[in-house]
């Protein structure tokens, strides 16, 4: 690589003093299950620890739901569906959702802090991205509640029944909102299981449901690990499963529903291509690539984890990325100046490290940020690999961490071929100053969401979902309603 001899020095002339978020929050020592509108202890009396990934220390204890608790939750949801929520006038359901959305806005600072403590994401992101989007999803679907016949002309949309929802740990509250808001707006009731490493904010959401006087049993929240999830999705009393998580688990769920009448939507992994052409607005493309892979520590299913950069600008682009990497601030998630926080769990850190080792073993060159990282807790320096080819494992497998794989292409046609050379198809990015090129490339990419000259933009009005092993079904937008409705002909 053509290394230039002039260097920039960062970080010592104007060092930002620590700026920790200090608003007090009501973190409880122990969290129970939320069944039939009440917080109840698990029948087994068993609890598991929730850890603060930034320190490695225990944050709280979370109830472990067994099959018997799941059964109670499903029965409670069934009762609420048949007696209260299903028969309720849609405009009344909408009012509850609007009320929930407003309460989320009121409590958003506290929720953001808890989200950052429990999950390790920077407060800047939980405060400015997660929580505003959580409220926005409830507002958006609240508006649809009494307009469903307009959404599907010529059909008589009706709710499906009890929805079982299993969500991941990367955007705990936001994924809960993506799942719950459309389900409730369409008249279904919900049993939801948050991920075991990030259950806390869901239980605070349950408090909001109580405050909003949401009828008992309309939403039930059960906490636990994979076996709790299995008990839920295999329960006979549910009508619909919505799962977001790994492709492996998604495949198992798909197998388990075979032969049943349960409806299924899956939002699984991704290995998105972020394509940068030589005529791209280069400085903004660098920002987009950074945002695409280091946003939320790379724990993003639609992360732009494969950078496809035109060979003619590869060296220049890598130099720019290297410089930008040097100014990313890694550390305390509660510091308002932190750009990259902690890895969500020990297990995930191990998985990321293993794939980094694989990348090195297979001959790719690792470029790491030189930032200091804390001794305790789970941390991974933001990094990228150059010299990656489509046959490297780090170009094919989802790392789900702050690790980017850089590949090159020669022509637009080759960019499309490389971008589609994956078993996934959740998202993609195109960077070029040429409008016509954006459309022609986007048309050929097999991905559910395609961003042009931007990345990781979310909005409740926009549907989200995958091709191939990234899953099926859409969340968000008008399309997101379809997963929660029977659409009989009028």
């Amino acid at each position: 690589m053509n290394k230039k001899k002039h260097h920039l020095n960062f970080g010592s002339a104007f060092d930002y003093a620590p700026a920790p978020e200090t608003t007090p929050v009501d973190l409880k020592k122990q969290y129970e299950l939320f069944i039939n509108g009440e917080f109840v202890a698990p029948e087994s009396g068993r609890y598991f620890n929730s850890t603060n990934p930034a320190t490695g220390k225990q944050l709280s204890r979370i109830a472990k739901a067994e099959a018997s608790d799941v059964d109670l939750a499903v029965k409670s949801a069934r009762r609420a569906y048949e007696k209260v929520w299903g028969p309720m006038a849609p405009s009344e359901r909408g009012k509850y959702l609007f009320r929930i959305a407003r309460l989320i806005q009121e409590k958003s600072r506290e929720l953001a802090i808890l989200e950052s403590m429990d999950g390790g994401k920077p407060i800047k992101e939980s405060r400015d991205i997660d929580l505003p989007l959580v409220a926005a999803h409830f507002f958006y679907y609240a508006g649809w509640a009494d307009k469903l016949t307009f959404a599907f002309p010529g059909r008589a949309p009706s709710p499906i029944g009890v929805a079982a929802q299993v969500i991941p740990w990367n955007f705990p509250l936001l994924m809960a909102a993506w799942k719950m808001a459309p389900a409730l707006a369409c008249g279904n009731t919900v049993v939801i299981k948050p991920a075991e490493t990030t259950s806390i904010t869901a239980m605070h959401l349950a408090e909001i449901f109580q405050e909003a006087d949401l009828p008992a049993g309309v939403v039930n929240i059960i906490t636990g690990a994979g076996d709790t999830g299995t008990a839920l999705v295999e329960h006979d009393g549910i009508d619909k499963i919505a799962f977001t998580g790994s492709t492996d688990v998604g495949k198992k769920i798909a197998q388990s529903v075979a032969g049943s009448t349960k409806k299924l939507t899956l939002e699984l992994g991704g290995k998105a291509a972020n394509i940068v052409f030589d005529d791209a607005p280069i400085e903004q493309a660098v920002e987009g690539v950074i945002n695409g892979i280091y946003f939320n520590q790379g724990h993003v299913c639609c992360a732009g984890s494969r950078l496809l950069v035109q060979e003619s600008i590869h060296d220049d682009f890598v130099e720019r990325l290297t410089r930008r990497l040097a100014t990313l601030r890694v550390g305390d998630p509660l510091d308002k100046n932190t750009d990259v926080g902690a890895i969500n769990s020990k297990a995930q850190l191990k998985r990321i490290k293993a794939l980094i080792e694989t990348g090195k073993d297979e001959g790719a060159e690792l470029h790491e940020s030189s930032c200091a990282i804390p001794d305790d807790g789970f941390w991974c320096r933001p990094s990228f690999f150059t010299g990656v080819t489509p046959s490297h494992r780090i170009a094919r497998e989802e790392i789900f961490g702050p690790v980017l794989s850089i590949l090159t292409f020669r022509t637009p046609a080759e960019a499309v071929t490389l971008a589609n050379d994956t078993c996934y198809g959740l998202s993609a990015g195109v960077w070029t100053d040429k409008g016509s090129k954006i459309f022609s490339i986007a048309d050929q990419l097999k991905a559910g969401v395609i961003w042009a000259n931007t990345f990781n933009r979310f909005d409740p009005t926009s549907p989200f979902g995958g091709y191939k092993e990234s899953g099926f079904g859409r969340e968000g937008g008008l399309q997101g309603l379809a997963a929660y409705l029977k659409q009989d002909h009028c």
Binding site: H6, L8, D279, A280, P281, I282, A285
Partner: protein
């Protein structure tokens, strides 16, 4: 366009650059970092008066303020420069005698630049002869918008030639050029034509300095430095009125160009009313609570 620049001029995506610039508004600058930033801001300030009504008396007041902006217990540095019209240069130089503070003069038919080159060069010569150590020239925006880039470049080179030892700041009036692509192009052009500093605005046109416009200029300067090793200064001017905004600019400089540019030699604020708020904030940090504005002198 037949005019060729030595370095490429990358395209700018408006949405992207504004989004990036906004991230600097989210930096939380507290306590010792804030005190450091505020003092830096004062030391980088071109304390400016550019009014038809400027008199020797007004310029004297300004110079006195620049020498010692605050009571000595606040340990506040002097301003970076005093910026006046050419006719006031000699008086300002006299007022600042014995201090290291340079006098900057706007010139070349400021603020419009709509004068024959001969007169504009004479303007510069006069200011330099009167003792100005920094010349803030305006480019011919009309000529630039006509696409006559070579002519704009030649003008800047000609002004540079008559500046002698005086530092040349090239004002673009980005509020009139409007697009970020124009800003990137004119920045590269001014740098290659010999400008020592590039400056956003005259302060007479709105919008004046903005974070994204300044970011595009900082990035041009950075790329030029990495290519050639030559360090060019940047001066956002006009519209920066609060200490909070000034700190956002410093965070942007710090994260774009790094430590070497956090000095009055390479970064300046052009401002007439910013100092008052910086004084208030600095005093608050030291005294622990906000003081009445009545306790601070006007300039």
């Amino acid at each position: 366009m037949s005019f060729l620049l030595k370095s490429p001029v990358p395209r700018i995506d408006q949405v992207g650059v504004e989004e990036r610039a906004n991230t600097f508004k989210k930096r939380s600058i507290k306590n010792e970092a804030k005190a450091l930033g505020l003092k830096m801001t004062v030391s980088m300030m071109d304390l400016t008066t550019l009014e038809g009504a400027d008199t020797k008396g007004k310029v004297s007041r300004l110079c006195r303020k620049a020498r010692q902006p605050m009571a000595s217990r606040y340990d506040c540095p002097p301003c970076g420069a005093v910026c006046v019209y050419p006719i006031q240069v000699a008086h300002a130089v006299k007022e600042l005698e014995g201090t290291p503070i340079p006098v900057a003069s706007v010139a070349t038919g400021f603020p419009s630049g709509q004068y024959p080159l001969k007169l504009r060069l004479a303007d510069v010569k006069g200011a330099v002869q009167s003792g100005a150590r920094e010349i803030d020239m305006v480019i011919s925006r009309g000529t630039f918008l006509e696409g006559k880039l070579a002519e704009v470049s030649d003008e800047i080179s000609a002004v540079k030639a008559v500046c002698g030892d005086a530092h040349l700041k090239v004002i673009f009036e980005t509020g009139e050029l409007q697009t970020y692509d124009h800003v990137r192009l004119v920045s590269q052009l001014a740098i290659e034509a010999g400008g020592d500093f590039i400056k956003t605005s005259t302060g007479k046109v709105s919008p004046a300095a903005t974070l994204p416009v300044t970011l595009v200029m900082l990035e041009t300067v950075r790329d030029h430095f990495l290519e050639t090793g030559r360090k060019i200064g940047v001066k956002p001017a006009g519209g920066i009125r609060t200490a909070k905004e000034a700190l956002q600019y410093l965070a942007m400089v710090s994260e774009t160009l790094g430590d070497d540019w956090l000095t009055p030699e390479l970064f300046r604020f052009g401002a007439s009313s910013l100092l008052g708020d910086v004084e208030l904030q600095l005093a608050k940090l030291i005294e622990g609570n906000y003081q009445s504005a009545d306790y601070f002198s006007n300039s």
